[in-house]
Symmetry: C2
Subunit: 335 residues, 2 copies
Amino acid sequence: MQRVVGTIAAMLLALTLGAAAALAQDADPLPSWNDGPTKESIIDFVTQVTTEGSPDFVEPAERIATFDNDGTLWVEQPIYTQFAFAMDRVKATANENPDWKTKQPFKAVLDGDTKALVATGQKGMLEIVAATHSGMTTTEFSDTVEQWIETAKHPRFKVLYTDLIYQPMLELLAYLRANGFKTFIVSGGGVEFMRSFADKTYGVPPEQVIGSSGVTEYRMWDASPVLVKVPKVLFIDDGPGKPEGINHFIGRQPIFAFGNSDGDKEMLEWTANCLRVCFMGLVHHTDAVREYAYDRDSSVGKLDEALDEAEAKGWTVVNMKDDWKVIFPGPVAGQ
Amino acid sequence: MQRVVGTIAAMLLALTLGAAAALAQDADPLPSWNDGPTKESIIDFVTQVTTEGSPDFVEPAERIATFDNDGTLWVEQPIYTQFAFAMDRVKATANENPDWKTKQPFKAVLDGDTKALVATGQKGMLEIVAATHSGMTTTEFSDTVEQWIETAKHPRFKVLYTDLIYQPMLELLAYLRANGFKTFIVSGGGVEFMRSFADKTYGVPPEQVIGSSGVTEYRMWDASPVLVKVPKVLFIDDGPGKPEGINHFIGRQPIFAFGNSDGDKEMLEWTANCLRVCFMGLVHHTDAVREYAYDRDSSVGKLDEALDEAEAKGWTVVNMKDDWKVIFPGPVAGQ
């Protein structure tokens, strides 16, 4: 009797599991993507590398997917979110730095003088980032970021920056993970800045976030060890720094990479240099109504050479306006 | 009827799973460890952090365990394995570098003149490592390491270096992973050197290996992108560099760390600075017959300050001679 019941149980279990699998296959894994060649290129690739017995099958351990962050997973206009944070920190700590009232680039930030700020150029921006991203412990820094990210609002959309992540990309991250991929963020942004929200926001744990980083120094404070952030660059994870960073942190070549700007060109080229099949994607910002439209002439997220290369080599280019049904997870003002 | 069968099936399933769980609990997860306080401290800690409902329960995502490599997971005497590799590379590439015949520290290596080599000091060692670990692509380098590691023999034990890993530590790595831990290597050794064998040898994938690293440069060779290793240090993952490296790569604090020398002191202190419970362990090499006996006066793997700190703070110290039933996975000569 036990044997019979066991067999029936096994059959029932098989039926249930089979039904669940069929249901999972039927459900659209990318519901916010319009049907068409872009969506197809993603699903075809994932099917190809995950179908056992297929000549292009890739072992789960080798299914490494890397995503840029700014402009690929969330809004980067009108300025990088991390720079908005840095400017807010200049304002918040101005009292402790009285010399900033008369000293550029800080004066420009405190006066709200965009023209003067722009005139300080990249050097000015780096000075602001260095001043606001050092002189504290790593824990103090991430506490400050967490507090800021839970309250600061985007100037146009008037919602939290973490509400301005791209719903279609969230679905893509989840779809890849459901298919055994390990998803990494590989961004020019600061690694500690991103790690403060990447897990909660994208489901990407700290150890899968790669970014630019400053030097930290191990010290004893009140007999407790701390890591202090010092104003010295350790690594810039942008342009050629992206494949270098991928090698440094992951030590494997991705088979799937997504970016949106010329800063992602080398990461995509590095990924394209794969042994068998690989997927390279670019988000092209073409939707001024629901988000922004910019490419070759933009000072933020410039997409020029990488767009030419994508077209020449047949990489997937997302036309945001046509390919995405929705942009953000929820409704936002200003769209 | 279906309902009845379903219920019986569920009961049978529960019984089967229950039996399997009981069986798993009964089996000794650390069979190569002698019973006693050392083994107990490990099992107690793992039980404590993995028991749901316990005040010390730690979510799986936070179960980060870090292990030093040389002297903690495999033999480091009479010289670090990576240095044995570097010296073999000097010999193998001597023809391409005719000036080495008369130039120290290379001349000493080629002449087998240990005294002259030692006289070149740390500067000499670094020169040898720089010369043999740069000027090639990352792929060429790891191919060379793989080839070497599959053939080179340890001078005393006459077996492959990967046969000289510690069986008790392999069991510990597996035990932690079976309990939801993510196991990382955090070593002063070169990250690319270790990644060439860590997955196969320890089951630690490349993205979970942290080590010292040189700068790589992204270049196009014959229209293909490559990463070229240049003779410039990016990061030294030793001493205070270990907590810095853990923060840089993982971005979380470990709750479990194991080392064997003063170079691991800061990693252990950093781990000990945990919010609730954490485990700090040291391998003390006390077995000159089966392996080596060394500590405070050793030039390789010196264990002095960290041993005092471990004793003062009650960290777990493995007495290799008494705590380990076997040292290596298989029998080796020279024991």
